[in-house]
Symmetry: C2
Subunit: 336 residues, 2 copies
């Protein structure tokens, strides 16, 4: 099968990659659309030492199911995962038996694999294999190109899953990449006083059109004194090492900083201000698919304006090239 | 009056320091006993650039009150703050009008002073002045030498004030200084599975006698694989820069690290593991006096075994010298 593969020779288009062999309780999904994420770019830099098929954001159609127990995989709306169903998929696969899996924390399984990130081929291919329990039917009203946003949108919903946002809170989101933008859109649903800070006016326009307040980073820094220690919550989604220190300066005493950025390298910082101001720092990663799918179905969050480009499989290099430009948002690969 | 003073000439005993002049709604307290805290040692190293009378832990007797509104200062048990009352005192004095004071966060007042730490003379003197709203009557069953522990014990209660400890949690406290020990004793009240880790067998014995499990740091590090990522909550009270990284390695995914140490200097660390494991870090400083006084009154926490030495005012240098030894716990200055 066709696949976008990363190995010691770099990024490659492989036309005859072996089709996945299903294990018990797995499904084979024919990929329609895959998304490129910041994590994919980090993998190309050596993150996690991953080799194999790239990609963890997708929408596709179930082509084969290998289970003896279909009843186990009925969705809450009694929609069944069956051959022909259009689906999206959670990326983490748990062992089912470690202390975290037994707590229901599959995404923190000590032996977990994650498609396209660690120990398991990803979705930038004709087919991807995933445990049936990872799959969710895509609602009819959500197109393939919208559904591919389910995974990053779920990561944005992880913020409200972890932290109680009061509607009277002042909230700042740092970073106008896809994750920062989706986080701002999710947080804005609470009717809190949400501001997205970024570097690119065109990206900020995308969220401003959905009634989120925006501010250029340079303007924020110019008004430093006004904003210092004034936000109840700051979401750090800059993807850069110095984002944390800025977030720490902007959050009020007893406030919260949510960390979304995974960045290579070390920070040189003092933790004592966290103690003095009793700040809470919350690490935040993958999130719940159900609310993301509901928001997409109800169109309360519009993701189409975040699409910067759609490329065919054989143009994957161009797609990655566009991603590397700070000006792009979500770039998709079309496998249909 | 006699006072233990720190200024550019270092630590000094001053016999003729000016007695505090009371502002509106303040009380003059004749100090009976004062405690020496780790923060005091840091002040001697230049922390906060403080100059003036040292000390923020005390028990004393109200000698004078300057207010037009006595009724405002009735305690919840209808015990009045009156001349002759034995009291302990919260250390932070708020302006009453900034955004944090208006939220009820006096201890985070943007213009706060704190006795013996910032902008206000401390309690290692014959007299200390404090706002009446900072004072709490010491229960009859709590001696002066026990009552002086109210402030650090309140800081330990701040952990359970901020974080919900489940009785089924595995909790690790790192650090066998006074704050680590008091935190372990407070956390142990929840009947969670609490372990205190320290370097000094004699200090660990003090908490072991109060039915807290203890472990030598060297034994913890030897069993590293067993303990890694296994605690629901880790309280970092080592007072050292490398305590955080150890805490981070010991806490389970989705667990919490409470930071109690204020340490000069920067950490060189990566925040990405906090994101991947969705760890919450909670900065924690001063705490509520009422539960601390209740625990002292009911003797559910015995603080007397933590007293390593009691010195008269004119032996204050020896007292500070003993404090600097890692083997000591709480050292008191007797002003009676």
């Amino acid at each position: 099968m066709k696949a976008v593969v990363f190995n010691k020779n770099g990024l490659q288009l492989v036309d005859d990659y072996l089709r996945p062999v299903l294990k018990e309780d797995e499904a084979l999904v024919r990929v329609a659309v895959a998304g490129i994420c910041g994590t994919d770019l980090e993998i190309l830099e050596g993150y996690k030492g991953f080799e194999g098929v790239m990609g963890h954001e997708f929408c596709g159609v179930i082509e084969e199911i290998n289970t003896k127990d279909f009843a186990k995989y009925e969705d809450r709306d009694n929609t069944r995962l069956e051959v022909g169903a259009r689906v999206v998929g959670e990326i983490n696969c748990g062992c089912g038996s470690c202390s975290n899996c037994l707590r229901g924390l599959k995404s923190h399984c000590l032996r977990r694999t994650a498609i396209g990130i660690t120990g398991r081929d990803g979705c930038m291919a004709k087919y991807v294999a995933l445990p049936l329990e990872n799959l969710h039917p895509a609602p009819d009203l959500v197109s393939d190109k919208e559904a591919v946003f389910t995974e990053p949108l779920a990561a944005a919903f992880e913020v409200t899953e972890q932290v109680h946002i009061r509607p009277s809170d002042r909230v700042l989101v740092l970073g106008d990449g896809s994750l920062g933008i989706l986080s701002a859109l999710v947080l804005n649903l609470t009717q809190a006083d949400v501001v997205l800070v970024g570097k690119y006016p065109k990206k900020l326009d995308v969220v401003a059109a959905q009634k989120v307040q925006t501010l250029l980073l340079e303007d924020l820094l110019r008004q430093k004194e006004i904003n210092e220690q004034s936000f109840d919550l700051v979401v750090e989604a800059t993807g850069s090492l110095d984002g944390f220190e800025l977030a720490r300066r902007l959050v009020r005493p007893r406030g919260k900083v949510v960390l979304k950025s995974t960045v290579a390298g070390n920070n040189e910082l003092s933790l004592t201000p966290l103690v003095l101001d009793e700040i809470t720092v919350v690490g935040s990663r993958c999130g719940p698919f159900a609310p993301a799918l509901r928001a997409l179905e109800k169109k309360v969050i519009e993701v189409k304006p975040l699409i910067s480009g759609i490329y065919a499989y054989d143009q994957a290099f161009d797609a990655f090239e566009l991603c590397r430009k700070g000006t792009s948002l979500k770039v998709l690969l079309d496998f249909c």
